[in-house]
């Protein structure tokens, strides 16, 4: 059983949904980034999405764009992200770590080398924002050996027949984008996305995690009613950005995490 499967099994037994946290690796700097992530995991993150900074993040809103720029300015790169995965894995043996990236940094690093290095560092999956199923074979086709699930995306614009095809090739879990727009867009329309979550769940036995536009514990509660996991990214990055000089920044993110986590516990 993979770490992802074990995590969802354990959560189901406890009647909880997964809190999936996105953090840009190396924001604001590599050392503090590890402290922040550790504090978040200790306070209830079930699955970590570790963001690889990219110079041209076309799917991201201003908050994650800026976090990406900060990390790059402080020298973050894919090799160092791999080192961070290893460090997190050493500290937390059970938390699944998903590498969240645009395709170009992986392509430049080398597709095979990426696979080898990240599998051995202890990564549990990879999500490539700009690599739809039509193009993903060129990457996964070069991966032989231990499985490294490619987490697939479903969007509000994805028609049902396409959703079915995506579900069929999916692995690990499915990331459902709750709204059209970039990350960090305001406003969650839980009613609109819940219908699509239900349709998707009829097509797959894999867990479905919902992200985009989720920023408050109340949002989390709403989404957790229908989904298996709730993804939060920009809300964490906003806290980092707004409190850069706070010596207790890691603790602050820990508190924010436990507020969200509480909202994933079903009564």
């Amino acid at each position: 059983m993979t770490r992802i499967e074990k995590t969802f099994e354990k959560l189901a037994a406890a009647n909880e949904k997964a809190l999936v946290a996105f953090v840009t690796a190396g924001d604001p700097d590599p050392a503090l980034s590890i402290d922040i992530i550790s504090s978040m995991i200790e306070n209830g993150v079930d699955i970590l999405e570790l963001g690889v900074p990219f110079s041209d993040p076309t799917a991201d809103g201003p908050v994650i764009q800026r976090s990406s720029a900060r990390a790059l300015k402080n020298g973050m790169n894919l090799g160092k992200v791999c080192g961070m995965v290893g460090a997190i894995r050493k500290k937390f043996t059970d938390v699944p770590v998903i590498v969240f990236s645009y395709y170009n940094p992986i392509y430049a690093y080398g597709i095979e080398k990426f696979y080898r290095d990240f599998v051995s560092a202890g990564a549990d999956g990879v999500l490539v924002v700009d690599l739809p199923p039509e193009e993903s074979e060129e990457m996964t086709g070069q991966w032989t050996g231990d499985p490294l699930p490619l987490i697939r995306l479903v969007a509000p614009t994805t028609p049902d027949d396409r959703m079915k095809r995506i579900a069929r090739v999916s692995d690990g879990f499915i990331y459902m984008v709750s709204k059209t727009g970039v990350t960090g867009s305001d406003g969650l329309d839980a009613a609109e996305s819940s219908g699509q979550v239900e349709r998707l769940k009829e097509m797959t036995r894999l867990p479905v995690c919902v992200g985009f536009g989720i920023s408050t514990p109340a949002d989390v509660t709403q989404v957790a009613r229908v989904a298996d996991g709730v993804v939060i990214g920009s809300a964490f990055e906003r806290t980092i950005e707004d409190n850069m000089d706070d010596p207790a920044l890691a603790k602050r993110l820990g508190r924010q995490t436990s507020d969200y986590k509480a909202a994933t516990r079903m009564k």
């Binding site: 990219f54 041209d56 790059l72 170009n104 995306l153 479903v154 994805t158």
Partner: protein, 402 residues
Amino acid sequence: MTQEQYRHYPDEKGHFGQYGGRYVAETLMPALLELEAAFTRFVPDPGFQEELTVMLNTYAGRPTPLYYAKRLSDRMGGAAIYLKREDLLHTGAHKINNTLGQALLAKKMGKTKIIAETGAGQHGVATATAAAYFGMECKVFMGVEDIGRQAPNVKRMELLGATVEPVESGTGTLKDAMNEAMRYWVSAIRDTFYVIGSVAGPHPYPAMVRAFQVVIGEETRRQVMEKCGRIPDLLVACVGGGSNAMGLFYPFLHDDVAIMGVEAAGTGIHTGKHAATLTAGSTGVLHGSKSYLLQDAQGQIMEAHSISAGLDYPGVGPEHALLKDLGRITYMSVEDNEALEAFGTLCRVEGIIPALESSHAVYCAMQEAKKRKPEEIIVVNLSGRGDKDLGIVAGVDEIRGK
């Protein structure tokens, strides 16, 4: 590979060999599939073509002349230089060929809003013009750096009823404008048509923009046959994203003619401040397609530099990448000061003020002409006029026209 096969791209998945494709977020995929279906259905239709041709001929000013630049040719003392006068088109550049085509397609698809990215502002102006023509709402994304150096075009877009959205992120140039246009498109995907201005971006854009620009090469072919009774010996065009070049080159790919694409070498390739993607870049993925890019070893995109905002882009159309690898087209680069020299020369010797983008191609053609015999024929795509560049040129102490 036989020469005929150069024209067999892209394949059904939008790939030009290993290049091209659709590297986009899932939210955009259904829109791209819808666009591809509409492009395949409407554009080859004789009715669509007829409607487009009438617009191009009665509104945009086609056909454009193929002009024998005798004084320039005499001065070089070699081959005959012909200029394909896309600069005479409405809005001042070849961009209008594509925007009228895409806006007509948008209308057929029932879209009422269009967006575009722009660098020099020529594509933005051409899109705003097409939007006004069809009575569509139009938003143009433009980097703050470019807004500064292309102020007249900003005013033009506003006069035409478009909203210019300043883009401050990144380097504030064309690539960032394109990032922001893609971000906006994701949020407005259901009723908005994205008019991409070059043979770049995800499939079907490279094939679609080419389809709307080949009119340049088709006309050139007819005109040169009429004037000279044979096809040219050399074709030259500047390459930023590469749409004016692809428009001229494509109908000649399987002919026995040398083809040169001219990139912007900025202050020199060795200085690192250039936009010569094919000359000095490497393979990667940006803005939805795989092609050559200016990037560092980590796959982070680097800033491009050129005196001409329209060439200031760290990517290039995927078909150019393939044609480079196949050796069908020779890509070279011309520096800022060389382009300025050609700019000055063309102004004084021929009475034509070329765009700084096109001046790169003119410089290359001038050098080639010197090396070639008088009976040889060179066709240069004079893709745009230079009115928009007067502010930049005024800042240069001396235009060294020779």
